[in-house]
């Protein structure tokens, strides 16, 4: 672990822990909602948006 050249902020770390926990609840509830909707609409789940945060490992850009 390299020593940081700036102060990350103690407050920022504490708040991050809180938000990350809250974000997980939101993501979890969104997933449950999506699953219920999918169940009733009997449709396949949406394909991930083209501009997504997730990198598709199969997508070769060489």
């Amino acid at each position: 672990m390299i020593v940081l050249y700036f102060d990350p902020g103690l407050g920022a770390m504490l708040v991050q822990a809180l938000i990350a926990a809250a974000a997980s609840v939101i993501v979890f509830s969104k997933n449950v909602k999506a699953k219920i909707q999918n169940f009733f609409s009997n449709k396949k789940g949406k394909k991930p948006h083209q501009d997504s945060i997730n990198i598709n490992e199969d997508e070769s850009k060489f």
Binding site: M1, A12, S24
Partner: protein, 466 residues
């Protein structure tokens, strides 16, 4: 008595590279190189051996590099050359937004692969071939399980805060990044945000609450940040939440020239004539790189950009620059670089010793484009900015050998409007004529071609520096 340099490693480095002790950037025989210092060897070797560098380069997340030399004191890398660097305070809203999303994407990918981004400054992103790309190869560190993202506050100050501020106040507020090169302070952001912003859970927690906590714990350096844990899954969920919030952010404001070509009643014949004439001159002069000053949304440049290697297009209007960027993304116009440029107030040099971030003039001088293009611009500089022709000519003679410039005469509607707005001061601008324009520009340039644009009161000049 003069002090000796405390470390040889800092003797040759690039003036903007000194903050991170992991390494530095330097110029060797006109080639930009990066030195990795021994204290970063463990990280560098792990990033290389694990295939992480290869993967992030493959996914167009990080600028490619080649290792050119290895000694016990440093490892030398040569990154792929980026022909022209623009700074965050020269970006439009969508550019800053895409840079933010790119940073989050890279951080998530890094965490999943056992690494983290140890910093999150907007200066680590450049626009290359039409897309944002991360340029600091040494910004990664090992991910310690359940540790928080230490660059989170930096990310908020450099990206989230300016984007949210622009959402409420319009894109002009992004210029705050010019006076705050370490990102907009949280206290300033919260004081500028409207009260209703607290109703948004993302803004409330990631900005308002963050600012409050930072204020509260500002002087508490005894408590170790190591004690704070954020589970990996939660960490990733936080990144997802930030990503989707930023993705949905927009800015809506009418600016000076947005949709210029739709709003003005520029005769189609005149516009086509202009495009064809410039295109002809460009191929005759064999121009490969140009800077278009006042290039609006890049419409003109786009009509002949296929013949160019690089077109740097600056404009004063945020919407025009944004539109240009959107078109570059849609049409994969990778050789066009859009940026904000106010010619009466060009980007200054900033940071320590005024050498950390270069002025736009320095960067253009360094780049030396073959041609400077200045269309529908001189009347604004001369009449709105009161700048004499001679000074304008001197300025345009700075960067390129060739100049293509449009001169609207006194019968032009826009010139008349600008003159009328001068009211009692109008007589001061009696000098505004073709003769005086040619005489003053003749001091620096040889006028090679002079063509009147049909159905307009404008003349197109092709000039060469003396």
């Amino acid at each position: 008595m003069r002090m000796r340099a405390s470390s040889d490693s800092f003797r040759n480095n690039h003036s903007s590279s000194f903050r991170d002790p992991s390494g530095y950037v330097f110029v060797d025989n006109n080639v930009l190189k990066r030195a990795v210092l021994p204290k970063y060897f463990t990280q560098y070797n792990a990033l290389k051996a694990s295939g992480f560098y290869k993967k992030v380069i493959k996914h167009s997340l990080l600028i490619p590099h080649n290792e050119s030399k290895t000694t016990k004191d440093s490892i030398e890398l040569i990154p792929e050359e980026i022909p022209f660097i623009t700074y965050p305070y020269e970006w439009s809203f969508s550019q800053l937004k895409d840079a933010a999303l790119h940073t989050l994407k890279l951080q998530k990918y890094a965490v999943r692969n056992g690494f983290i981004l140890k910093d999150a400054t907007a200066f680590n992103i450049a626009f290359h071939r039409g897309n944002p790309i991360f340029i600091d190869t040494l910004s990664f560190d090992f991910y310690t399980p359940d540790s928080p993202w230490k660059a989170f506050k930096m990310f908020v100050q450099h990206f989230l805060s300016p984007l949210v501020l622009a959402h409420y106040h319009g894109p002009t507020i992004l210029k705050l990044l010019q006076t705050h090169i370490d990102g907009i302070p949280l206290s300033l952001t919260t004081s500028l945000l409207p009260r209703k912003s607290k109703l948004n859970p993302t803004i409330l927690t990631n900005i308002h609450l963050l600012a409050k906590a930072e204020r509260k714990y500002k002087n508490q350096t005894d408590k170790k940040t190591k004690e704070i844990k954020v589970k990996k899954e939660r960490h990733l969920n936080h990144l997802d939440a930030l990503y989707s919030f930023i993705q949905g952010l927009n800015v809506n404001q009418q600016t000076e020239w947005g949709n210029y070509y739709e709003n003005i009643h520029y005769d189609d014949t005149a516009l086509d004539f202009k495009k064809n004439q410039i295109s002809e001159w460009i191929s005759y002069l064999n121009v490969k790189t140009i800077v278009d000053i006042g290039g609006n949304d890049g419409t003109m440049v786009r009509s002949f950009s296929h013949d160019l290697d690089l077109a740097i297009v600056g404009d004063i209007d945020e919407n025009a620059v944004d539109l240009n960027y959107q078109k570059i993304k849609e049409q994969k116009g990778g050789n066009i670089i859009p940026f904000l440029l106010d010619i009466l107030q060009p980007t200054p040099a900033l940071g320590f010793d005024n050498k950390e971030r270069f002025s736009i003039i320095d960067r253009l001088n360094q780049c030396k484009p073959d041609l400077t293009l200045a269309l529908a611009l001189i009347h604004h500089i001369s009449l709105s900015g009161n700048v004499p022709f001679l000074k304008i000519a001197e300025f345009f003679a700075r960067f390129s050998n060739d100049l293509i410039i449009e001169f609207p005469n006194r019968d032009d509607k826009m010139v008349q409007l600008l003159l009328d707005q001068k009211r009692d001061f109008k007589n001061h601008f009696d000098f505004y004529s073709e003769d005086n324009f040619e005489k003053d520009f003749g001091v620096f340039f040889e006028i090679k071609k002079r063509v009147a644009i049909p159905k307009s009161n404008r003349i197109l000049y092709q000039m060469e520096i003396i």
